[in-house]
Amino acid sequence: MRVHSMKILCSALLAALCLSGPARADDIVFMSTQLRPIEEAQKLREVILKDFPQKVTLVPEEPAPLATRMKAEADAGKRTVSVVAAGHGELQPLQAIGALDPIDDVAAKLKDRGIPASLMQLGKLGTDKQLYIPWMQATYIMVANKKALPFLPAGADVNALTYDQLAAWAKAIQEKTGQRRLGFPAGPKGLMPRFFEGYLYPAYTGGVVTPFRSAEAETMWGAFKALWASVNPNSANYDFMQEPLQGGEVWIAFDHVARLKDALIAKPDDFVAFPAPAGPKGRGYMAVVAGLSIAKGAPNRAGGEALIEYLTEAKVQLITASEVGFFPVVKAELPANLNPGIKLEAAAVDKTQSAPDALVSFLPVGLGDKGGQFNKVYMDTFQRVVLRGEPIRAVLDSEADALKAIMTATNAPCWAPDPASSGACPVK
C-alpha cells in the first residue's frame, strides 16, 4: 500500500518536473508582472497571443522577484528570458542593474503605430536609449456606489469634484449613516503612494518633488488629515478597492482602473465611475504605462522583437482593452461592444484626460532602484501626519531631507508636473 502510494507520488513529481521543465530554446520566454492574476494570464495566453505565430511561454512574475531573477540570470550567465513586460516603475530597477537591452531598432520599426511621443520618451527611463516600448496604459479613477450619490453636497458635479467637495460628501455620509464609507488603497500592496504623487500633490501644489515642503503642501496635508476623519479606518489594509466596494464596506473609492475593474464588471448598474477631484492647482492625474522590453542577452531576440511588434498592433491593442481593461497606447477607437464595466472605466478615463483643469503627471523617471524609497517618503509623511498626528511642518521638513537625499543620489531631473530642472530635481 505504502509502496504503491510512493509510486504515485513519484510519478506525480516526475510529471510536475516535466511540465515545468525548461522551455525549448526556440520558445520566447515572456516574463510579465502585468496581467498576473490567473484569469488575466489565461486571457493573455489564449486570446491576446492566439494569433501570434511563434510559441510563447508566458511566465507571470511578481515585481520584486523579477529584479532578483534578472540579476541571478545575469550572474549565472544563463539567460532564459527574452521579453520582459512590466510597469514603468518596475522596469526602472532593471535598467539600474543593466538587465535591459536598448531597442532603438524596434522603436524605429514601430514609428507608424502612433504611440505618443511623451510615452515613448518615458520608455527611455531617463537615458538616451529606448529601453521599453509602451504596451498598455491605465490611470486612476474614482468609483462610487449609487447609494452614495444622494449625499453629494449641493451644487457638486460628480464628474468635476473638488477635494473640499469630496470631504464634505464623505462627511455627510458619515453623519447620516454613522459609517465611514470613503476608502483609499493604503494597504501593504495598495497603490496609495501614487495618489500622493500623481493626484493630491499636483492638485494642491502643482508639483510633486519641488514643492514637497511648500506652504501649499502644508495646507494640503491639513486638509487631507481633516478628510481622513471620514475615511474608513480599514483603508490602511485595503490593497484592491474593488473588494470593499463589492462588499459594500466602502461606497466611494480611489484606485487604479485595473483594481476597480472587477466591481464594475460584476455590477455595472450599481456603480458610477468618475475622475479624481481637483485642488487649487488643477485636477492632478497620473498616466500609468506598462512597457515591453528585451532582456540583455536574450536567447531569442528576433522572436522577442516580433512579439513586441505583434502586441502593439492596433487590433491586438483593442483585444487587450476589451479582455483585460488596460487601454491602448496606439491610436485605436474602442469597440462598441465593450463590456459595460470597462465602458464605465473608459468613460471616466476619458473625462479625466479631457477635463479642462486636467494636470497630467508622469511616473517618476530616473530614480533607478530608489523608486521604492521615493514612494516611502510620501507614505511615511502620510503615516506621520495623518495616522500618528505629528506636526505637519516638522514632518515635511524632516521628510524633505530624505527626499533630497534620494534626488541627489540618483541625480534625477524633474518630471511633469514639476518645472524642468538642470541636474537633480530640487526640493525647495
Binding site: 494597504g187 479606518p233 490602511a236 521604492g372 524609497q373
Partner: protein, 299 residues
Amino acid sequence: MTTAVEPAALPRATPASAARAQWLPYLLLAPSLIFLAVLFALPFLQTLLLSVSDGDKLSLANYAKMATDLNFAPSLRNTFALVLAVVPLQVVLALGMAMMLQKVRVARDIVLWIWTIPLAVSDLAAGLAWFAILNDSGYLNSVLYAVGAIPDQQGLLSYETPVTLFIGIAAAEIWRATAIVLVILVAGVQLIPREYGEAAEVFGATAWQRFLRVTLPLLKPSLQTALILRTVLAFEVFAVVYALGGRNMPVLVGEAYVWQHENQNYGVAAAYAVLVMAVSLAATVVYLRALRVPREQQS
C-alpha cells in the same frame, strides 16, 4: 532491504580499516556539514556583509537607516511584546495539555492528533482563517451582532484599535504554534520513568508537589528545547501579523520584508535580518544558561 551482513564476512581489523573507522563519523557528518555551510553559513555571511556595506566600502549606514526609520521602534516593541505575551502562555498551555494527556486513557492518540492539527496549517493560512473570524464582517462580529451584544460592526484590526489587533494576533499565534511546544513536551513527559512519581507519592507528595518537584525538573531538557525553538520562531513572526493587520502592527521580519521588496533597499533589509538573528541568538543563550541541564541528565 535489511540484508544483514554475515559476521564471518566482516573484515579483520587492519591498520587501514582502523583509520577508516576513525574517519567514518566525519565522512557521515560531511553531507550535513556541507549542506549547512553552503545553504546556511554562506548566505548568512553574505547577509552580514551586505548589511555592513555601503556601495563598496564598509559602513554602518544601513543600521543607522534602520534605527532612524519611523517603524523601527514600533516594530521592535511589537515583536518583543508578542514574544513576551505569547511564548509563556504557550508553554503553560502546552504543559497543562501534556499533563492532561497523561491521564487520558481512551482515544489518547485522537486527542493528541486533534491538538496538533494547527501544526499542519501554514502560518499565512492560519492568519487568513483568523482574519475571517476577526474582520469587520467576520464571524465574531456576526455572532456578537446576532445576539445583540453590539449595535453595529466593530472594527477590531485597524490602526485605531491597536489593543484588539494585538490580542487578535496573539490569539492566532497561540492557536497556531502551541502544538509544536506540546509535541516536544509530550515526548519529554513520556521519557520520565514512572518510578519517580510513584516514589514521591509513597512519601506523601501531593499531585501539585509531584508536578513541581519531580515532573518539571525532569522535563527541563524538553522545556529548554521547546522554549528555544518557540522563541526563535516567535521572533520571526510575520505571516499572521501581515494577514491580520497588514502594516498596522509593524514587526521586525515584516520590516525586513518591506525594505527588501517595497523599498528595494537590500542593505537595510539585511540589517533587519542580522538584528533578528542576534536577538534570537541572545534568547537561545539565555535559555541555555537559565535552564542548564546537568550532564548526567543529558542524553
